[in-house]
Symmetry: C2
Subunit: 296 residues, 2 copies
């Protein structure tokens, strides 16, 4: 096992895996009786964007594996312009690790990649956690040009992590305070940092979002084949990927529980990290392995 | 304290309280460190319709109080034709008990009564659990005449509790099996039973549903004043009060968490009773007493 002795994303060393001609950056730490949990990251996010308040308590009872997809952070290659391309890299990475099955926490863009992986190779995942994400054919996915988001991207005062407080949290005192705490937790990691994503990363990922919004035929029908136990989580005030997308996920995935937090935006898992970790751990530890019965 | 020594709705004696010219039937059992929890019942339901798999584990750490509103079971009086009328009776009952503040679990019709009570006298409740219910102005509330429900009401083979399996559970093998288990649990109580509700009860309650669907002015605005911590629960396949009503609740209540179960209809709390009890108990035990901040 390549498990490291450190148990926090503040200090876990970045590791590298060579597979199919690419070099993937990742971190792997923690351990315990739970199945390994793969973390798939949001738009432009790197290994350094994972909140230790989420990764570390989950790592207390299982290995967690944080992953830079191709072209992100210190991973080689081009950022794919489709979710399918990102799913392919993630499967190559898991194959390279020799991990036959794991749990997954897909956040935002990462949730879409997790859904695509579950369709492409269902045996990859045991249980699926989807936070702040959308199915193919979802609505209003990452339209950074809309006024409620564009005003933050245009604000020169918002540099580095500071913009995350505005776009991941609701415009209330309580949510903004949670956002400030979140940014503070990210800043705790001082060494062995990823290269922040530039405009080229953003452009390709936005192209992938636009492609993911398109659908043909029966909208959301592809979700019905994903019979894994799933936990879908969102903030009710998510401006980046509205909560309606989470509604459509649980209405069409055959075995998905929905959890929606109040007073929270896209970063609900960081704002309510204690509750989220507790819900996620209980979900991952649950013995129920099978989906519900078929319609009569 | 009038707490009884039995800890189950299978055996708890029915009690009676005289207040403001009415006699209210109720059961009160259990105990522990938690706040008392008032149960407000569904359409035509009596004290005997509360699932011991839900009431009894909750009674292990708090008193639970099951209540027959006016004209239901062995309570005197007329069944009100408005939710507001039902809320008035429930407040009179709590006043008669001398209970200044409690938690509440309002299910279906009972959830609407809980919402009305929270508006009429906010201090009544500390925390609010709303299952399978709808806000004023909600959509498709208890339209028993629609084909998906009417076919069960027309079926002469469905007598007594048997119809509940059809209308409270989803048309899947797994959900129907859970429905059968639920009906079996209700049937465990053999003595000291309430009088089942007749067509007059149903007619007045349906009148109240039709009135509750109406709204004037800003739809759902009345919810924004209900700042209690709330847990909203539903089955994703609820035909009696569709899950969209739960979406509207958490989008407008300032401090409400949403939990939606897969493969479940109106009776999600009975189908997933272990999970529901665990979620409800954790919610009720949480220390957070205040709502989120105001918008900036």
């Amino acid at each position: 096992m390549s498990t490291t002795t450190t148990e926090s994303n503040i200090t876990a060393p970045t590791l590298f895996l060579d597979a199919s001609g690419e070099r993937y950056a990742y971190r792997r730490f923690g351990g315990g009786p739970g199945h390994p949990l793969l973390f798939l990251q949001h738009f432009t996010g790197t290994l350094d964007n994972w909140d230790p308040a989420v990764t570390d308590p989950l790592a207390a009872t299982r290995e967690v594996i944080l992953f830079d997809n191709a072209g992100i952070g210190r991973s080689s290659g081009e950022v794919p312009k489709t979710i399918a391309g990102m799913a392919k890299h993630a499967l190559t990475f898991l194959d390279g690790l020799g991990l036959k099955a794991c749990d997954v926490l897909g956040y935002s863009l990462g949730g879409m990649v997790a859904l695509q992986m579950a369709q492409d190779r269902p045996s990859t995942f045991r249980r699926i956690i989807l936070v702040g994400t959308a199915p193919r054919g979802g609505e209003d996915i990452m339209h950074l040009e809309k006024p409620s988001l564009a005003r933050h991207f245009r604000d020169p005062a918002l540099r580095g992590y500071a913009i995350l407080r505005k776009i991941f949290f609701a415009p209330t005192e309580s949510s903004q305070a949670a956002g400030e705490a979140f940014v503070g937790r990210l800043a705790q990691r001082q060494n062995d940092l990823d290269r922040p994503s530039g405009p080229d990363v953003a452009a390709n990922q936005i192209t992938a979002f636009r492609e993911w919004e398109r659908f043909t035929g029966d909208r959301f029908a592809d979700l019905r084949s994903i019979r894994h136990p799933a936990l879908v989580v969102n903030g009710v005030r998510d401006e980046m990927i509205p909560v309606s997308n989470s509604y459509r996920l649980v209405e069409n995935l055959p075995n998905a529980v929905l959890l929606v937090y109040p007073d929270a935006g896209h970063g609900s898992l960081f704002q309510f990290h204690d509750s989220f970790v507790s819900q996620a751990a209980a979900f991952l530890a649950s013995g129920q392995e099978t989906g519900p019965g078929t319609s009569q």
